[in-house]
């Protein structure tokens, strides 16, 4: 049986139908876990954060306007829960060259060479970038991830965060400068 999310929401809103709630969680889980993984704070389990997103989802579901696409509403909620978690949790302490794995050091070496001689391993670069992002301020990290990793447009970021386009551009500019400083400080 494949029931539309809107019907499931109506069943939850009218009678707190737990079967409908379970079906909703199942339908939205992959979307939520994708967002949570991209914005996961240092030393926090992805499932714990996803659980928090769904707890907020059911807390605010009575205020959901069916005229709005459910995916957008869930994405916005998930990003805001992640931002709150990023702000409330401790950041990763500053990284030094000796803290990096051999693979991450090699990735860094390859990235700074001009022209790039041996292509860095994508997974090593990603790991290195994530470790540095974990040392950054919550909003700086969020804007860099949304803009450069998820390649969201300014309009999409505006919808997700509620920030104006000027704020997004300014924050992204400052965040890139800070990230550059972090990379430069590694060696």
């Amino acid at each position: 049986m494949n029931i539309e999310p809107r019907q499931l929401i109506a069943a939850w809103q009218s009678a707190r139908d737990e079967q409908a709630a379970r079906a909703l969680i199942d339908a939205l889980y992959s979307q939520v876990i994708r967002i949570v993984r991209n914005h996961l704070p240092f030393r926090l389990d992805e499932e714990d954060l996803a659980q928090e997103v769904f707890a907020q989802f059911f807390k605010t579901l009575d205020r959901y306007d069916p005229a709005q696409p459910l995916e957008n509403w869930v994405s916005r909620l998930a990003v805001n829960v992640c931002l709150k978690a990023l702000r409330s949790r401790k950041r990763r302490p500053e990284l030094r060259w000796s803290d990096l794995s051999e693979e991450e050091q090699a990735a860094m070496e390859s990235l700074v060479r001009e022209p790039e001689e041996t292509a860095a391993q994508d997974s090593d670069v990603k790991a290195l970038l994530h470790r540095l992002l974990e040392t950054m301020d919550a909003k700086d990290r969020l804007v860099l991830t949304l803009l450069h990793l998820e390649e969201k447009t300014l309009k999409e970021i505006q919808e997700l965060t509620g920030w104006t386009s000027i704020i997004i551009r300014m924050r992204a500019y400052r965040a890139r400068k800070k990230l550059k400083k972090l990379f430069e400080g590694l060696r």
Binding site: R37, E47, A50, Q51, F54, L111, V112, S123, E184
Partner: protein
Amino acid sequence: MKLPDSFFDRLFRHARQAVALPVPEGAPQGFATRVLAQWREREPRDWTLWLLPRAIGLAAACVLTLLAVDGLLAPAGEEHELAGLMMSSALEGQP
């Protein structure tokens, strides 16, 4: 260390190209139960938090009403007492 101009382009391009972990189709076993348990646990607390300021407001309004009623009745009581005194002194003067 000076970074080349193309550094950020390369950095984010490689990071985007990295193979992402597979995303599960649905929630893992027991996940929905934990979410609903958390929701149930929070629901009465949220209700209490919502109710508390209103209860304080209502109590304050009751106290203010009592004080106002008391303030209105007090002068009337004094007048009544004064009238009683005048009456008794007038009666004392009679043979």
